[in-house]
């Protein structure tokens, strides 16, 4: 899924013909038996293989039989050959699969009822499908400690089935190298280099390991209890905000089509749960754009400070930059992430307007993200209001569970409205949730700041889509703006190195503006989103966001009347002293080991 190259290489396509369970199938040469099976509606079970990742062939559950060969082959990593006659199910194959599962279960804790993946676990599902019974299994569970040191994800290596997905994601897709396998054989376990705490490793808390783990070995750090207790506290004034990407993903936990936009239902559910005000992080996204586009135009037209400007709304990316690309700090936008802005304003602007004691306000952010759990206390700037601006950051998965606990019929509950003062938003704010969205939103407003009018076309197609790195040149009435968008931290190096090279040579910068999101696909593919993410889901979720953008009245952040009102009543103007103190932050070089 991740591509560095911008043009797919030219190649001629050869087709091969084969038979799967008696059904003829024609596929491109190189297609695996597993994928060919999908074409003819055959589902071969998998455990170690994830659609995002190269096959490691670690588990053996996907074995199939080829006519006239003695061996059983692994479907996930075997390319189909012309004339193959494949059987994917027979009593012997099923028996082998059961043995694979029995071996795994023989060292797996029998703790489904109290597991973070209960009813949503690939191992549990297979155990149920293959009708495994525990009797007779001599169950030896390794005694390994749980690691919650990151306060973002929980590592429970006892539940690890050593499929290696998390390690592949962390090393290859994210290029962080926090996780690795230590030891071998039956003692193999996941851990950071040399058994230190994950918090002391280079981990940037993106949560992609949790999003790709098939079991409960890595899950989000659950903070729903803290929120429930505040909701029950009569002295607390609980307020909430929801991020762009949450609205198009949470439905998956309730059986909606992926990408269904459920904004109104989420507002309604939050109010029923007892939140006294419901804001929308999309408002914060609009505000971020007005600040960031002003920052950009200032640097671009007046030659102030350095270009390219690099976006800063993804905390895992900020963490990664501080750890591995500290030399880029001068390029970083000083804008906080949108939810942090809303947090700071809830306890100042909103509190003043509503005559509330900000000390009583308890701000809960609902995010697609695990890194935001850490971001909210990453530095003293996160207390710009004089209090911790955001008190708890929950993931989409945690909110889905809370809704289920609270007896709300989410499927039928009627839509509600946000509190517009920090809740009204434009389409530009909505698309923040997809890779390229921040760039597109910023370009719309920058266009206006440079030319005085809105762009003739709001869509900047060149920054959309799932290509790992997207580069483009935008023409703003004769002025060329070169942009780059990267998502998945492994794709960052290509972009940053180009900047570094130009710097070293004193050459012209390759870009003026760079957007980076740590998670593949951007926030729609965030580490805290409903499980089972693939490119199909990333696309469906992004489509939900672009659809809302395309059908809305306001397409540009600066059109948001409530943002305008905020400036008129409180902040004065973008980059004002007050804006700087509430909405902006700073960065520190914190080199971490990696290499």
């Amino acid at each position: 899924m991740i591509h560095h190259s911008l043009e797919p290489p030219e190649r001629t396509v050869n087709m091969v013909n084969a038979i799967i369970n008696g059904v003829p199938v024609q596929v491109e040469q190189g297609t695996t038996i597993l994928d060919a099976g999908h074409k003819v509606h055959v589902k071969i079970p998998t455990l170690c293989k994830h659609p995002d990742l190269d096959a490691t062939a670690a588990c053996g559950i996907c074995i199939v039989r080829i006519k006239n060969t003695p061996k059983m082959l692994r479907a996930c990593c075997t390319p189909i050959e012309d004339g193959m006659d494949i059987t994917t199910e027979d009593p012997e194959i099923i028996q082998v699969r059961r043995s694979v599962l029995e071996l795994i279960l023989s060292k797996h804790p029998n703790q489904c009822l109290t597991c973070g993946r209960n009813q949503n676990c690939e191992l549990q599902t297979l155990a149920a499908d293959f009708n495994l019974v525990w009797d007779g299994l001599d169950n030896i569970v390794p005694q390994l400690p749980t690691d919650t040191s990151t306060l973002s994800i929980k590592l429970d290596p006892k539940k690890c089935i050593t499929c290696g997905r998390c390690i592949q994601v962390c090393q290859e897709i994210q290029n962080v190298w926090a996780l690795s396998f230590l030891q071998r054989g039956i003692e193999t376990r996941i851990a950071p280099a040399g058994d230190i705490n994950l918090a002391d490793s280079p981990c940037v808390r993106c949560g992609q390991c949790s999003a790709h783990c098939p079991t409960g070995a890595i899950v989000e750090y659950d903070e729903t209890e803290a929120v429930w207790s505040k909701l029950l506290d009569p002295h607390a004034y609980c307020v909430a905000q929801i991020a762009p990407a949450v609205r198009v993903a949470i439905g998956e936990a309730f059986g909606f089509e992926p990408g269904t936009n459920l904004t109104g239902k989420i507002y309604a559910a939050l109010r029923r749960m007892g939140f006294k005000a419901v804001f929308d992080t999309n408002f914060g996204a609009d505000l971020t754009i007005v600040e960031e586009a002003s920052e950009f135009v200032e640097r671009f037209t007046k030659g102030k400070s350095v270009l390219p400007l690099i976006t800063s709304c993804c905390p895992a990316w900020v963490d990664f930059m501080e750890k591995f690309h500290g030399d880029m700090i001068p390029h970083f936008s000083t804008c906080k992430s949108p939810h942090a802005m809303v947090g700071a304003l809830a306890k100042t602007y909103y509190a003043q307007k509503m005559k509330l004691n900000p000390a009583k306000i308890f701000m809960v952010s609902i995010m697609p993200c695990t890194a935001k759990k850490f971001e909210i206390c990453r530095s003293k700037e996160m207390q710009a209001s004089g209090f911790q601006d955001v008190d708890v950051s929950l993931t989409t998965r945690e909110l889905a569970r809370m809704i289920k606990q609270s007896g709300i019929d989410f499927i039928t509950v009627p839509d509600d409205q946000p509190d517009h003062i920090l809740g009204a938003y434009t389409g530009a704010g909505t698309i923040f949730g997809a890779t390229g969205g921040v760039m597109e939103a910023a370009l719309r407003t920058a266009y206006n700041l440079i030319t005085g009018s809105n762009p003739p076309r709001f869509e900047f197609e060149v920054v959309r889509g799932l290509q790992g790195v997207k580069e483009g040149e935008i023409n703003i009435v004769g002025t060329k703006v070169r942009v780059a968008v990267a998502h998945g931290l492994g794709n960052v190096e290509y972009v940053i190195n180009k900047v570094r090279e130009a710097k070293d040579k004193g050459a012209e910068m390759p870009y003026h503006f760079i957007e980076v999101m740590a998670c593949p696909g951007g926030c729609v593919g965030g580490g805290g989103q409903p499980y089972g993410v693939t490119d199909v889901l990333r696309k469906a979720r992004a489509k939900g966001l672009y659809h809302e953008d395309g059908s809305g009245l306001w397409r540009c952040s600066h059109q948001n009347p409530y943002v305008q009102q905020l400036y008129a009543d409180f902040l004065e103007k973008p980059l004002s002293h007050k804006s700087e103190s509430l909405l902006h932050t700073g960065y520190t070089n914190r080199p971490a080991y990696q290499k």
Binding site: W177, L182, A193
Partner: protein, 159 residues
Amino acid sequence: MTHTSVVDDVAVIAKRWNNTRGSLIMALHDLQSRHGYVPRESAMKLAKYMDVPLARIYEVLTFYNYFKLKPPGKHVVSVCMGTACYLKGAPGIYHDITKHLGIKSGETTPNGEFHLQIVRCIGCCGLAPVVTINEQLLAKMNPHDAVEHICQIKEGAEK
């Protein structure tokens, strides 16, 4: 040895092995022979000098139980668990030694006197089951005698 010379050691080792195939293991080998184990500090420097992620280095270090991550005890007790020794009762020997010393394989007694490790076949299956204490090879062992040998060393130390 001054601190700076330790730093340079790693650089020298890295330089020696950089660009050679399978060089990481050889470099780690060098580090272990120098210190008796692979200190984390040295591993981190090696990662930098050889441009290998630290995570990969620890994957290698923990894959082979030859490598030690902590300073070894004064006396290294190795129990062979190769197939021959295993079949001839090595697990029982290992069990009794762990009980006697209060440590598991890969651990060192708190007083630093004994380090216990399980090793794979050491190539003298005819003498199975085999235990070694430092350079001394103890052939055709049984749990009782193995513990007895350890006791003798302990007493020797007390005298």
